[in-house]
């Protein structure tokens, strides 16, 4: 283990390995999720040696299934976490600043979890490290996505290091890089689907756009969800500023749900008049996948959380927790539905042949489900690990309040005092409260 100096440890909020053992329930949960992850990866390795074509449910007609959906879920949540947190400490919108550390940490965690999931889907993962570098194809969205996500992860790592080290100007610079690489990588992920002219359901500029907006929605939901969980573990993290931050994220998330609902409605309506998309759309609206669509994607993923979040006003943590928990499940199914939708209608359906007269069947196999659960468990284990070992990602006092400034007891923001002013006078000046004559 690397020996971390006491000074550095204090600066980083590093509590030492011993912190992991401080709370029995927490330790139990960490070990539990760790064990689940280990089980899932063991099943994945078993599948690797047996041969994926024997153990996975994917076929030649439906080559991408649950694993790709789970990878997309993790990676989208990661990008969203980065983008939402960048509103604060990268672009300087002050209410979002308190969530920065946790969001970036989770962003890295989910990204790594996503990579482990895709490791078990690609047949020759070790070749990727070699040939992606020496034989790149610049017209391939997948190549760009892989490369940019690598750079994105690097930027995030650097950003997080500087956040820990309290070097906010460097972390902002790395954060800008993270945002640029993240948006570029993520829109290429959307374009992996959107640039396939032969798959009419996905083809078009909609996919990259939808992915970015949907990412921010997932990121907002994840921030609220994990902050609520973190609060349950450590009551002191929810100070006035964090409350303000959570409220701001809640407002953003609610608005983005509205945008995604709008996207989904028009995707359905415009698909109904397009013969090449009709069958795929109807498979989800009235067909065999209607349950996953209406119950999970629409009700749990969008509609119910929308109303719950509105009702919570950004202050009711019970409502926000249930809303975002539902959202995360619903969003997982959003990714699954999206990946399946473009593949359910056989490519030769238009020929009118007997072999391809209906929709193609797909159901995830035991191995696929195990690996997906493993990835998610790894992310949760990482989250639990980070909370304890990094002092719940709290900022230190002096980080939040620079010299000559104070936290406004009214709005929770940072205000600067002029020479000779008291806190009260500064407050009144900031909020333009006229003194009573």
């Amino acid at each position: 283990m690397v020996k971390i100096q006491k000074e550095t440890a204090e600066r980083w909020g590093y509590s030492g390995i011993g912190a992991l053992f401080s709370s029995k329930p927490h330790l139990f949960l960490m070990l539990l999720f760790g064990a689940v992850a280990a089980w899932g990866y063991a099943v994945g390795i078993d599948g690797f040696f047996k041969g994926y074509h024997h153990v996975y449910g994917v076929t030649r007609q439906i080559p991408w299934g649950l694993l790709i959906s789970a990878y997309i879920f993790c990676v989208v949540t990661s990008t969203g976490l980065c983008l939402v947190s960048s509103i604060g400490h990268v672009f300087g919108y002050e209410p979002y600043m308190p969530i920065a550390k946790r969001a970036v940490f989770l962003s890295i965690t989910f990204m790594l979890a996503g990579f482990t999931i895709i490791f078990f889907d690609i047949e020759n993962p070790f070749r990727m490290a070699v040939y992606n570098v020496i034989s790149p194809n610049f017209t391939s969205n997948m190549w760009w996505m892989g490369t940019l996500y690598g750079l994105y992860l690097l930027s995030l790592g650097i950003e997080y290091f500087f956040l820990l080290d309290q070097n906010h100007s460097m972390s902002r610079f790395a954060g800008i890089l993270g945002v640029i690489f993240g948006v570029a990588a993520h829109s290429n992920l959307g374009a992996v689907f959107g640039m396939l002219h032969g798959r009419e359901f996905w083809y078009g500029p909609y996919m990259p756009i939808y992915f970015i907006v949907s990412a921010m929605m997932s990121g907002g939901a994840a921030i609220i969800f994990f902050t609520c969980l973190a609060w349950k573990m450590n009551r002191e993290i929810l100070d006035h500023r964090m409350e303000r931050a959570v409220k701001a994220v809640c407002q953003l998330t609610t608005m983005l749900i509205a945008v995604i609902m709008f996207f989904t409605i028009w995707k359905i309506i415009s698909g109904i008049v397009a013969p090449e998309k009709y069958l795929a759309i109807m498979a989800f609206v009235t067909g065999p996948h209607a349950l996953t669509f209406w119950l999970f994607e629409v009700a749990m993923g969008m509609v119910i959380p929308f109303f719950l979040l509105l009702r919570s006003k950004g202050t009711n943590y019970g409502l926000m927790f249930s809303a975002t928990a539902m959202m995360l499940v619903g969003i997982f199914f959003m990714r699954y539905n999206l990946v399946l939708a473009g593949q359910l209608v056989p490519v030769f359906h238009g020929l009118g042949v007997e072999e391809y007269s209906g929709l193609l069947p797909y159901f995830p196999s035991y191995h696929e489900i195990a690996v997906a659960i493993a990835g998610l468990s790894l992310a949760i284990t990482g989250f639990l690990f980070g909370e304890k070992i990094l002092n719940a990602h709290q900022f230190q006092k002096h980080e939040i309040v620079p010299a000559g400034a104070f936290i406004c007891p009214g709005c929770g923001g940072i205000h600067y005092k002029k020479e000779g002013e008291t806190h009260e006078e500064a407050l009144q000046r900031h909020h333009r409260i006229r003194k009573a004559k």
């Binding site: 994926y52 074509h53 024997h54 996975y56 994917v58 076929t59 030649r60 007609q61 439906i62 056989p346 359906h349 007997e354 072999e355 391809y356 007269s357 209906g358 929709l359 193609l360 069947p361 797909y362």
Partner: protein, 152 residues
């Protein structure tokens, strides 16, 4: 007896009569298993598979047995498969099926290939449904209809 019971007994009687008449006339049997003609003949050599429907030729068009079963075709089913020259070239030279299927009497054997050639898929279907015996040593694939994904 009251009117209800009378009606019921009448109904039973009529059903019994209809059942009797129907079964005697083979309405429950397969369409092409008539006693009057030879039913469906499925050739599996040299290719799988070609179907000849006696029903279409005897019942629908009204050909008589001796019109084909003189020197053109033997009465024994599938005898032609053992002939050396049972191929499309012979048919196009007005032998066997080509005697009539030359474009004048009926459609030419150079057209509408899949009308008689049901192919390997047709052959597989018939073996699955138990209508013909499988050729030795050959695999029969499962039902593919309905858009099932094939292979991995």
């Amino acid at each position: 007896m009251n009117i209800m019971k009378k009606n019921f007994l009448l109904f039973l009687l009529c059903s019994a009569i209809m059942l009797g008449l129907g079964s005697a006339n083979n309405i429950f049997a397969e369409d092409d298993e008539g006693e009057d003609h030879g039913g469906d003949i499925v050739y599996t050599y040299p290719l799988k598979a070609v179907i000849f429907s006696h029903k279409a030729h005897v019942e629908d068009i009204g050909l008589q047995c001796e019109w084909c079963h003189d020197s053109t075709f033997e009465m024994e089913a599938l005898h032609m498969q053992e002939e050396a020259q049972f191929d499309m070239e012979s048919l196009c030279n007005e032998k066997y099926c080509g005697t009539c299927h030359n474009g004048d009497i009926s459609f030419s054997t150079t057209t509408q290939c899949a009308r008689c050639h049901i192919g390997k898929k047709g052959y597989d279907k018939m073996v699955r449904e138990g209508l013909i015996e499988p050729v030795e040593g050959e695999e029969v694939s499962g039902d593919e209809e309905g858009g099932h994904g094939e292979g991995h």
